[in-house]
């Protein structure tokens, strides 16, 4: 029995059909760059916030 199509497979096949060429791996790579940057930026917000917390005086 064939394996049911996962959401990821569906996204890849739909993208291939729409884009009309086999560049889906590039698309995944480009989106990964965007996701990685903005995830880093949100971590950076948290890092800057942590820096503002003053250490308790001994």
């Amino acid at each position: 029995m064939p394996r049911p199509m996962s959401a990821c497979d569906l996204a890849v096949s739909t993208s291939r059909r729409l884009a009309g060429r086999d560049l889906v791996m590039w698309d995944i790579g480009m989106i990964a760059i965007g996701v990685a940057f903005f995830a880093t930026a949100i971590a950076y917000v948290k890092g800057c916030e942590l820096l503002s917390i003053k250490e308790p005086t001994k």
Binding site: L18, A19, G20, R21, L23, W26, D27, G29, M30, I31, I33, G34, V35, F37, F38, A41, I42, Y44, V45, K46, C48, E49, L51, S52
Partner: protein, 595 residues
Amino acid sequence: MSANGWLQIGLFFALVLVSAKPLGVYMAKVFGREKTLFDVLARPVERLIYKLTGIDEAHEMKWTEYAIAMLVFSFVTMIVTYAIERLQHVLPLQGLLNPQGLANVEPALALNTAASFTTNTNWQSYVPEATMSYLTEMVTLAYHNFASAAVGMALAIAFVRGIAGREKKTLGNFWVDTTRATLWVLLPGSLILALVLVSQGVVQNFRPYDTVPLMQPFQAQVTGADGKTTTQTISTQTIGQGPVASQEAIKMLGTNGGGFFNANSAHPFENPNALTNFLEMFAIFVIPGALTITLGRMVKSPGHGWAVFAAMSALFFAGVLVSYWAESHGNPLLHNVNSTASAMQSGGNMEGKEVRFGIANSALFATATTDASCGAVNSMHDSFTPLGGIVPLVNILLGEIVFGGVGAGLYGMLIFVVVTVFIAGLMVGRTPEYLGKKIESYDVQMAMLYVLIFPFSVLLFAAVTVLMPNLGLSSLNNSGPHGLSELLYAYASATGNNGSAFAGLNANTHWYNLSITVAMLVGRFLMIVPMLAVAGNLAQKKLVPPSAGTFPVNTPLFTVLLVGVILIVGALTFFPALALGPILEHLQMLAGVSY
């Protein structure tokens, strides 16, 4: 230089000066949620937007929440833009919205463009009229022209609230500030400007491109898809069309700068005459200039707003003076060419200039577009003399705080104000205070993080690119110091979110598309975060009553010190790179060597 040229420059600045107060006061009312004449139209739309999106307009955000809302908003809109570019050839209504049948945009270029417009940079590694469909131009690029400018204004207002706040933990609401910036300022302003531009001949249509016969056919070497070069007789020309005026208005008013056509504001359909040229330059400065007055009003120190305006004005005039002088004197190596003024041209270095506008308006446009983070051009910066070309480059390298981008210029300048107040405090040996707020170590740490990220990105990417002959240097059209200027300018323009190109560089390669993408994202978002951290920290502080040791920030002395700090920081950081680029090129030009 001519009296006529200076008269035009003076008239331009006078209009910016006169409009600053009324617009600045209006924007203070808009962001302070005071009553304005425009409420009757904008308020119902605003309420509807909040109702549809579930935004609670009474909710106040801490700086971290404000920053994360801005990041999430930018990420989502960037990815949607990427998707539309990648699918523009298969989306509906091709006949109307893609009459030229333009193909889907390649992945690296699509990401570069999506990041470019999301960050208000509008760097264009492509020929717009041969790459982007009308749908992509209107739904994604024009949308970002509004959204990125509104985000910039919202962030500047958040910083001002941080200065004005008294023991508060919040900076306002990102969604409300962005919505109000769009509905009350950018939309009405660009609607009026677009109608004026249409009345002057800027096109606004959905027609396919025209093909017209040339009056003088000519022969040219044409390289085909198979790589073979043949000589062909060119007897027709394709003339681009499209919804240009609507894009042009917000392109200038939002200091975005991305042209509908590759020639940008040198194209007669984007900038048909001297009046549109004047209005487009004015549109670059009008909001950033007025925001200084908004600052003065919101912090209840109008004199401080004017002191910041004066510092920006001094740096603006210094830039336009050098640029106009250098271009008027022309290139000494062309001593055999008659470059004196005539009925057809204004004399001096006319290479790369639009003859309709001449040198004064080219120097003024180049200065204004790089003082602000606009990036629109009406002349070719690559063709400027070395000293003429150093002005746009230095303007960007100073952080585009001379009026600056919409919002971004003000918060960039305010970071320099914090640094200036800190240095003034060190000079007299007292704890620095800024409008009654003590500037402490965390504020200075975050301010310096903001200041250092910019040169880190520019110099690192430029250095790495210089070291890669196949990926980096092979894209350059010029060698020597001029080539270095082209490369340095590209990464300065990207990190500074300016978007103008020095030109002479083929940036549509995987290396440039991806490295410039990262530079644009770093220059926008990694600088905004420490800026908001300073704002959030300032907002929490108690007000300290002024004393004999308080450094007043509304005096000429403050303005002079602020200008000095900006120049020293810029000079110390970038002087070595400038010495190897335009300064060396100038000295070699005097010695008879060109590149």
